[in-house]
Chain length 706, copies 2
């Protein structure tokens, strides 16, 4: 049982603002409901006794409705919603536009609408929605031109036009839906609510979505992870590009989160992402009808050599593999096929193959345990009747545990057999690449379903101390902190080189004396950004020279920038960069997903090669480890080109501790550890955070400290 | 006038092996010709007086034919071809299979067939071909089930099944062709011949191809460059992936050239590459019907916000840009559109837009000089009639210099308007991404058409000296050469550090004395691959230590590998790597395209990051320069991260000289200059080829020396 059952399966639906006036939205909604809805449709309008032949009540409290669809003008929407609340209607669909999408007045109205929903505990869709549909009861509470066919897809869309376009197309292609919701401005109910609901809904086989933004990334990830344990989610997230994000912002006022965050967040959520309408429905179609493959090994059976090669290329493109047949399979094929046939994968039954030969080849291949999925691919010939071939594919597929897709490469003669195959749940295309890509989607969902989500990494840390360090920002003109915040890393157990910020040559010498070997000395000032350029950094200073170097650094800084605030000089253990690999661990805060972690190798790898990877925090240990494995330059951590491998565990540990830190402190807006030097495996801490920069929101800091 | 006019536009076509026997290929061909061919069809068969009601002659010399289509059994094909030659028929289409694709006997037969064609100067298609078609005369000399509709696409395919599949689909979609050829085994005529012919053929607007291999890459590049000056070529090259290449090899026996070579070669040839059937026909369709855009700036006019965002994303994906409207355009839109409309790009005429508003928005946008191309994108609404919209788009488009594509997002109701738009030459899709992608293809072809191909780089070199150096391979057990071949680079003017290979400590000292500063010394032996590992390299040797170091290196080598051939010790100027950037310039020889040049930065960039770029040699100066610009790590050459930029001209020069070397000497099978150290801009040679390895074919070397 889903959480929104009453919304999608009401007994009585009231249309607040129902009318028979031609062209009015209130007429379209009422008429759509009256056409197909199994329950009661109750027009609500004080001006009429009846609407479209149905008795009309004067106010919502007379309607005894489970769902109210509100189509009244914007100026009286709030009153209508309040009336719904008072009347005990808990599900409200606000179709009326003129809210957050229209400017300041509308935004204020939308805020008040959300408050009312909260006050009356309303499950509210919209405003600025096309409406909702649910096919089991025939409920079409939208003002769109078409009702949906019944089926197993449940569909949410942040664009009403996209709903009408998709339904028009789907009705023509025999694609059916369970529920449909046009999300509108998402003032109350958003994508997360519907993902939760449909995850518990037996009638929903696949959830599909068109989204321009996600309201609360973290909540969405949690909900989607649970739902995708047994219900796949496929979504178009538009506004992927800079221009697209701008267009989305002007369309629905969606605040652009970064594409990197969506990419990481949707992947962590287990959402299969589609980039076009074709991809969306190809994926949803096969997920709703075919079993999941045990392996990524695909068998191809074809009567057409060239298209067989194209399909094989598509297997490579889709990160699938060509199945290697068992000896028995090859022997059986050799026995039943003519000499000219190719009995290896892709199996070429050749141009003169009749239905029986096609069927036999498919049966033999399907019996091979090495085959995870099969594609049947046929070009027109004198001997092949596509209707018969469709029957044969259906029959063999009935007995198969592995999924099947078909490509019938032709025009008119393929139309009817295609439709029949699709009705049997076997996806059928012209283009071999699309057939293979749809099989790849099944494997992608199998991997998602099989994921085990570990808990976020958690360490024993000194949160109090971290808060103290962050509080230094209160004494600053701006909200940035630098090496003077190294103690923040210490508080969270992130290894830093020995060292201290000192304010006298004497203390500098004392600190250096306590450190093995030579030291690095750096001027510490929030006002001097490029310390090296002004000679503000000294590397490899011997103990005897430390006091003089202190004076020298201070003098240089004073000369260079007389008004700069000098916090002192950092005296730090010299980390041997020759043996290590410089990495960067960073974080910024995304408006939708919150803290977004970044990992990459230092210097050119991040700056020039843009070789980086992202995760929404908090991350589990396996997620942190993946980050160290999936950058292109990862082999350098594992000891490429004759070098010792570094202690990757220490890097993973640091990512986890940073994840915990930025989750604990929403006040940290940005943070970079650059470099984090990863050192060869040895006893003790094998990573060193040499430098840190962060930006802190002082007000949030005061709010978020327990 | 094309070179193969008689083949595609004959007066009389003979079918050698014509028959009325049901199911026979000879019947299908004869019948197809009799159905639609405007010229004479002459059955040739000594066993019949007539075939399918048409008088039959006993032998080809009685036929007076321009084209002979040969369908006799493989055992008598050669006799039939010889008879064609004797009879003066110059165009022969061999449909019979059982040649190179079937094993040794067939391969021998194919060799003989090619010899006969050469002897009689035949333009021969096949063997193992489905046949040829040409729609102006209605000639269908194939055994396929469908004739083509007339149109401007000329189509060659290395798969007969692909031809039947495509024609079946095309006839259903109203897509027409000028000529069609099934290439078969390409024993005589291949893709290059047809590219040349269609390049000169007025009836061909666009050339499309399905290829599994290219017979002669260099010839193809030259022909395609000329043809694409006014006729676009779009091709699927299958066998792109490893598995696909294997499948292609078992399908047509195509020897796998490397995908890197095809990628580089087809790009250099100006061929637009499609990866699927949809892409192939989307590209061909718009290239054949729409004008080319002046700029990459796209305007979108839509009544659907969400799909507008998707289209905008597609603009970013396709490397196009959103047009910035002039102030006048925005003002005019603001005046004519309602307040809620978005008058910036993408223009949202909003859901209640009628045809007039759509038309007006499109007209205003089309008048803006900043707009290079336009996409009209419509979702179903109560007020939009798609037939009327199609008319409006056609009318506005008639007056536009810029290309237009349309997306009508719906089902059944869009079918007829889509067909009408397509008949008017306006491509129309459901998916916004496909509409944008097709516009992007126009821009891609515009760039190809505008290319100016410069001559290959050519330098004054010492070819004689190079041949001498390469000849050292005759004295070797294997065919590899190392630093002892540095003189090869000198001979072609590629800068190398000062140095020499010496065979005594005295000579070592003399050479070192003639070199400024310290030297590098290396054991030279074809048998010792990893010289550093055995201490066979000494870096930074002072003059005084050179003699001792010589003895030391020899002793180490003798101890390590007593039987190794020692060619001596290389004494080389020490190149300052700190100031330079290590690059790699390499080459290997591709079976189809010949010498393939590679460029990348040294070490991790090539080995770990796989950051490389390729070109078929010989290259022009702009091509060599592009190689230095298109690798991801290119910013490092230009002085990223505060370093001096290196002298890129010196690198370009080296690539050009290597290009000339490997073109002059087909005997060079592989060659790597690793590292080529690129040095900061200064007087003199600012690059240094520090090491070289190559593989030489001794027999080819003897053949190719003038």
């Amino acid at each position: 049982m889903g959480t929104l059952n009453e919304l999608f399966d009401p007994d009585r639906v009231a249309v607040v603002g129902a009318t028979a006036r031609a062209g009015a939205v209130g007429r379209a909604v009422t008429s759509n409901l009256l056409d197909d809805f199994d329950g009661e449709t109750v027009p609500v309008n004080p001006n009429y006794d009846e609407v479209l032949g149905t008795p009309c009540v004067g106010s919502i409290d007379e309607a005894d409705a489970d769902v109210a669809v509100v189509v009244v003008p914007p100026s009286i929407v709030l009153d209508a919603i309040e009336a719904c609340g008072e009347a005990g209607v808990r599900n409200v669909v606000v179709i009326t536009a003129g809210f957050g999408e229209t400017g300041e007045e509308g935004a204020t109205r939308e805020t008040r609408l959300a408050e009312l929903a909260d006050e009356y505990d309303l499950d509210l869709v919209g405003p600025n929605s096309l409406g909702v549909m649910s096919t089991p009861s025939g409920m079409n509470a939208t003002f769109g031109p078409e009702n949906a066919l019944p089926g197993g897809l449940s569909f949410m869309s942040q664009s009403g036009a996209f709903v009408t376009a998709v339904l028009d197309w789907a009705n023509d292609h025999g694609v059916g839906f369970k529920d449909v919701v046009s999300l509108g401005n998402k003032a109350v109910l958003d994508e997360t609510d519907f993902v939760e609901h449909w995850g518990d809904d037996d009638g929903t086989d696949v959830i599909i979505g068109y989204l321009e933004g996600i309201e609360d990334g973290r909540e969405f990830i949690e909900a989607a992870r649970e739902t995708t344990e047994d219900t796949p989610i496929v979504a178009v997230k538009s506004g992927r590009t800079n221009a697209g994000a701008q267009a989305a912002s002007s369309h629905t006022g969606t605040l652009a989160g970064s594409e990197k965050a969506y990419e990481a967040g949707l992947d962590q959520a287990g959402v299969i992402r589609a980039e076009s309408v074709d991809e969306l429905f190809d994926a949803a179609g096969i997920l709703g009808s075919q079993p999941l493959p045990d392996t990524d090994a695909v068998a191809i059976v074809t009567n057409a050599g060239g298209p067989g090669v194209m399909a094989t290329d598509a297997v490579g493109d889709a990160d699938l593999e060509m199945a290697s047949f068992s000896g028995e399979t090859t022997a059986r094929l050799r026995e039943s096929m003519p000499d000219e046939a190719n009995v290896h994968n892709p199996v070429d039954v050749i141009g003169d193959a009749d239905i029986d030969r096609f069927r036999e080849a498919l049966e033999i291949v399907a019996a091979d345990e090495n085959v995870g999925a099969a594609l049947v691919l046929a070009a027109p010939t004198a001997v092949i009747d596509f209707d018969d071939l469709a029957d044969a594919i259906s029959e063999v597929s009935d007995g198969m545990a592995a999924p099947v897709a078909a490509c019938l490469m032709g025009g008119d003669r393929t139309r009817e057999p295609k439709r029949r195959l699709q009705e049997e749940g076997i996806p059928c295309y012209f283009d071999p690449a699309r057939g293979i890509e749809s099989l790849a989607t099944l494997g992608r969902y199998r991997d998602i379903r099989d994921r085990e989500y570990a808990d976020p990494m958690s360490f024993d840390v000194d949160r109090e101390r971290a808060h103290e360090v962050l509080s230094a920002v209160h004494d600053r003109d701006d909200n940035r902190l630098g090496v003077e915040a190294m103690a923040l890393l210490d508080a969270y157990g992130i290894p830093t080189p020995a060292g201290e910020i000192v304010d006298s040559p004497e203390r500098a010498s004392e600190v250096a004396a306590g450190i093995d070997g030579e030291v690095v000395m750096k001027i510490v000032s929030p006002d001097i950004l490029h310390k090296s350029d002004i000679g503000g950094v000294a590397v490899g200073v011997a103990d005897a020279d430390v006091a003089d170097t202190y004076e020298d650094l201070i003098t240089r800084a004073r000369n260079y920038q007389p008004n700069a605030t000098l916090l002192g000089v950092q005296v730090q253990e010299l980390v041997d960069l020759d043996d290590g690999v410089e990495t960067i661990v960073g974080m910024n805060r995304d408006p939708q997903f919150g803290p977004l972690l970044m990992f990459g190798l230092g210097g050119i790898f991040v700056e020039v090669m843009e070789d980086t990877t992202f995760r929404v925090a908090p991350v589990s240990e396996p997620e942190a480890r993946e980050m160290t494995e999936e950058i292109r330059s990862a082999p350098l951590l594992r000891g490429a080109r004759g070098r010792d491998p570094v202690d990757v565990d220490a890097v993973v540990d640091t990512i986890g501790r940073l994840s915990q830190l930025v989750t604990d402190f929403p006040a940290i807006l940005e943070l970079d550890i650059n470099p984090l030097v990863a050192l060869p495996d040895a006893d003790g801490a094998n990573a060193a955070a040499v430098d840190v920069r962060l930006t802190v929101d002082p007000e949030e800091l005061d709010r978020t400290h327990d």
